[in-house]
């Protein structure tokens, strides 16, 4: 079928996707005479970008506008599979609401009046405006924020060359807690060996909805094929809670009490791996002293989980040690004591002695480590074509007052610190904001404040595939090519042995979009920073990453995934070390006990695992030892409001994509039947949810799957900008109800609060 404008619009509008020409937004795909998809190859191996997990994919163009996307079978840990979001990538590709030309704001911010401009005009204006801010206020007056992945590398490199220290990822609005806790204790984030654990305790990590493919697959196989027991603590009955053997609807924000009581029980009942602790852990004595009072009875008072259950679960868990783990999680119910909560989860693992053991926690064997142990070059180490750029002189905005966020900065800093800084010009003015593939109006708390911060800026640039809620308030929006149309730098996927994957175009670019590396490189050159770019295109960059090995790059492009050595290695597993030394003749000689335990390197001040951390004491006085602190997240009469993930959407990014919108276009507020009855609310009723931050309207879902004192909604719905016609005002906008609170040390945004619910 030949696609002209009329037939394209007709087909694209099937399924309630209406796009009257009078409402077409400039710069969107609907304005184009879209041509049929042009495949780049018969079947292209690449990397997904529908969430941040980046699963390896294989994609085949089916016809004019459909692409069949599946997992890349070479990427064994991912099982050759993708989720619903991954399968829907082509729906984004051909969405008439997708942005395919640079556009410029014509009316007031957020008024929705746009004009298409050329890339040259866009670059010129952005360069002029950013350089003017730099001249007047200094380069630090421009903040740069980005989605994690290759985008942040590209954008932050330009930012550094520009001279600004203020670069931010979404880390402090999502997974920062475990990263910072692990940084303080181990010097880096370990992974959970879900596939081999014989007992797993999970605190609110809904990993069958927020799907991290290799983890979820390994865990399900383990659960069903080996009958491994899973215990879930979550105020909500998630899919994971359903698949678990035991579910405890724990009171929001009290997970830390249960975790500390588990440590108490292990110490009290002599279940600690003292040999491991003696050799590798510092600060054990002060932890023992601190946890003396954290009895199961104490935890029961706080969390509602019975002391008997806490004791039994701890004994069951310890029985399977070291092949047992406490999932340190992602999200769960946040509290201002997120840092201590995550440390408490890691603490149980440390007492179990499960570090570098099967079914425990382990650190990736990247090329450098693996080669070092093998005594030969098994895998190429990833290089770079980037140059040494002088570090910005000015202090970051999140590091001026004190140094407590030191450990978060390498991962992307306190994102929400932009808000107060921009509004109050404290500690110094912030006048420009460059945002790529990040949607702070959805993901950072206190929507009104985020909007105020944007409006207080002199100049805002957004780069995205849609006119997102945030982009809608920008002065210029640049259209990035979707992941199915662009290439990127090589990415490290090492788990128990080294592995790399590569993103490459599946179809030729639609419209006038560009890959992000090209956008920021060209803008940098426009701003006179060309000296920092030795490479001209992504192929050159990729080649530099592989040390100029063309053969290797060709192979990687063909298979999309290369793995090296293939002998899985956990440093404290004798059998694995024996297999490793058998495979590599020049391998490091094992320790006397047959392991590589002596090769464990913890990047902490004294090289040991810091169960209690004197370093943390220096950046955050009073926080050396893990401690329980009372928190207040709501008023007595309010209900807890918590959020979570759903398998068919990615927070703040996918809600307007036709196929996914079709699967889930709205989110209801989960309310327990008792609470609903008191409030006179039935399923399907229109309700108002409000607190001092904001007010939202939505639908009620009366369900037993939530505690009576808590309500729940999926994140990412209720976009308030008109440019996203499908997602606009559909569902509850969570950010509009959450307060701008930052947790100590880990810098995390608080996603738990109190709300009042009533019939609208």
């Amino acid at each position: 079928m030949k696609l002209d404008r009329r037939t394209f619009l007709k087909s694209a509008s099937a399924g309630g996707v209406y796009c009257a020409l009078s409402q077409v937004v400039p710069g969107t795909l609907a304005t184009l005479y879209a041509s049929p998809l042009e495949p780049v190859g018969q079947e292209v191996m690449s990397i997904c970008e529908m969430c941040s997990t980046r699963c390896p994919i294989s994609a085949r163009v089916v016809d004019d506008r459909n692409v069949s996307i599946n997992g890349n079978i070479h990427a064994a840990p991912y099982g050759g599979k993708v989720c619903a979001r991954g399968g829907s990538g082509h729906s984004l590709l051909y969405d008439p609401e997708r942005l395919v030309k640079p556009i410029k704001r014509m009316g007031e911010r957020g008024e929705g009046k746009w004009k298409e401009i050329s890339w040259e005009e866009a670059y010129s204006e952005i360069a002029d405006k950013l350089l003017a801010i730099k001249k007047k206020y200094g380069p630090e007056a421009v903040a740069f924020s980005s989605k994690g992945g290759s985008q942040d590398r590209e954008l932050f490199y330009m930012a550094r060359a520009f001279g600004s220290p203020n670069v931010f990822t979404h880390i402090s609005t999502c997974p920062g807690g475990p990263y910072v806790a692990a940084a303080s204790m181990f010097g880096g984030l370990p992974k959970c060996d879900f596939g081999n654990a014989r007992y797993i305790v999970n605190f609110g990590h809904s990993m069958y909805e927020g799907i991290e493919m290799w983890e979820a697959q390994a865990m399900m196989k383990n659960q069903v094929d080996k009958g491994t027991k899973l215990v879930a603590f979550d105020p909500r009955f998630s899919i994971l809670a359903d698949k678990a053997d035991e579910w405890y609807p724990i009171k929001p924000g009290t997970d830390i009490a249960v975790a500390l009581a588990m440590s108490h029980v292990m110490i009290r009942d002599d279940l600690v791996d003292l040999d491991f602790v003696t050799k590798y852990v510092e600060g054990y004595e002060s932890f023992v002293k601190e946890t003396e009072n954290y009895t199961p009875e104490w935890a029961e008072q706080i969390s509602g989980v019975s002391a008997a259950d806490i004791v039994r679960i701890t004994h069951e868990l310890a029985f399977h040690a070291p092949h047992a783990l406490v999932d340190y999680g992602h999200r769960s119910t946040y509290t201002p004591e997120e840092f201590e909560f995550r440390r408490a989860l890691f603490a149980v693992n440390i007492l179990l002695g499960n570090i570098e053991r099967e079914g425990g926690l382990f650190f990736s064997q990247k090329a450098k480590e693996y080669n070092g142990l093998a005594g030969e070059k098994v895998a190429p180490e990833l290089g770079t074509a980037d140059m040494q750029v002088p570090a910005p002189i000015t202090q970051r905005i999140d590091m001026v007052a004190d140094k407590q966020y030191t450990l978060l900065v390498p991962y992307g800093g306190v994102y929400q610190s932009i808000l107060d800084t921009a509004i109050k010009s404290d500690p110094y003015p912030l006048k420009g904001w460059v945002i790529t593939r990040s949607n702070p109006l959805q993901t950072v708390t206190d929507r009104a404040k985020v909007e105020k911060a944007i409006r207080s800026m002199d100049f805002v640039v957004a780069c995205d595939v849609y006119i997102t809620e945030t982009a809608a308030l920008a002065d210029i929006i640049l259209p990035e090519s979707t992941y199915l149309e662009r290439d990127e730098s090589i990415y490290d996927y090492s788990l128990k042995f080294p592995a790399y994957a590569i993103r490459q175009p599946v179809v030729k670019t639609i419209g006038d979009t560009k890959p992000c590396w090209q956008i920021w490189r060209e803008l940098a050159i426009k701003m006179g920073l060309g000296e920092y770019y030795k490479w001209n295109d992504m192929s050159e960059y990729q080649l530099a990453q592989l040390g100029g090995d063309k053969e290797e790059l060709a192979q990687l492009k063909e298979k999309g995934w290369l793995q090296y050595g293939e002998v899985p290695l956990l440093l404290r597993e004798k059998k694995m070390v024996a297999d490793f030394t058998k495979k590599f003749s020049g391998a490091r000689t094992p320790d006397a006990d047959g392991t590589y335990a002596s090769a464990m390197k913890f990047r902490t001040p004294n090289g040991k695992i810091a169960l209690s951390s004197s370093f943390v004491e220096t950046i955050a006085p009073g926080r050396e030892v893990i401690r329980y602190r009372d928190v207040k997240m709501k008023k007595e009469e309010e209900l807890f409001f918590i959020q979570g993930k759903v398998a068919v959407h990615t927070n703040g990014a996918t809600h307007n994509i036709p196929m996914l919108h079709n699967l889930m276009s709205d989110c209801s507020l989960w309310i327990h039947p008792e609470t609903a009855e008191k409030l006179g609310i039935k399923t399907g009723d229109t309700i108002r949810i409000h607190n001092k931050i904001g007010s939202e309207e939505g639908k009620a879902l009366v369900t037993l799957g939530i505690r009576p004192d808590t309500v729940f909604a999926y994140m990412g719905f209720g976009s308030k900008n008109k440019e996203l016609k499908r997602a606009n005002n559909r569902g509850i906008h969570c950010g509009n109800l959450l307060p701008d609170v930052t947790a100590p040390v880990c810098g995390m945004n608080l996603h738990t609060t109190g709300v009042t619910v009533e019939k609208a």
């Binding site: 069949s68 991954g86 082509h90 493919m213």
Partner: protein, 191 residues
């Protein structure tokens, strides 16, 4: 019958992620207003803390005794040599008898072809090309098993001989070829 294709939906593994539903749409170009396949998450049922969800695959049951085929006046609905119940688009006059006759309510009129349509195990798409339906191929949790029951060495044969399975509405005598492995909690609901 040369082959006897059957499918097993393992509800212990299924998380209701809808990956299958999307893969089906992409592979078979199913318009957004209709669907050949969905997994409906029902519940939670039970009492706190012993709740459970049901993961209900809603798609053609591939009945051995298929009412949709017997009521079809034109022979458009038919059973192939492979045992697959399918629709010959060109022979369909859109009378919708089959839609009415299907006790599982999984047939629809395709908005573009105007013919009756439904899951046919990707007979003319991925099964033909790669020997496996799109939903089975993509399922992240390996909750779908597909194969030829005439082959005693097939995975489906092994699983059906070793696992507890049931079918939807067995009392109707339709003999579905879609089997279900129930979740670990709650009763068996095969309506």
């Amino acid at each position: 019958m040369q082959t006897n294709y059957v499918m097993i939906h393992d509800e212990r593994r299924c998380t209701g992620c809808q990956s299958c539903s999307i893969a089906c749409r992409s592979e078979n170009k199913v318009p957004l207003t209709v669907f050949r396949l969905q997994v409906q998450i029902e519940g939670p049922h039970g009492a706190i803390p012993h709740l459970h969800y049901r993961y209900h695959r809603v798609s053609c049951q591939q009945c051995e005794n298929s009412p949709c085929v017997s009521v079809c006046p034109t022979g458009a609905s038919y059973v192939g040599d492979d045992g697959i119940v399918s629709v010959k688009q060109k022979l369909c006059v859109g009378c919708q008898y089959c839609l009415a006759a299907c006790p599982y309510k999984v047939r629809f009129i395709h908005p573009e072809t105007k013919a009756a349509d439904k899951c046919n195990f990707c007979k003319d798409s991925r099964l033909e090309r790669e020997g496996i339906p799109a939903c089975v191929d993509i399922c992240p949790m390996n909750a779908l098993i597909f194969g030829d029951l005439n082959d005693p060495d097939s995975e489906v044969a092994k699983v059906l001989n070793t696992a507890i399975t049931h079918k939807n509405n067995p009392h109707l005598g339709t003999k579905p070829r879609l089997y279900r492995i129930p979740t670990k909690r709650g009763g068996i609901h095969n309506g």
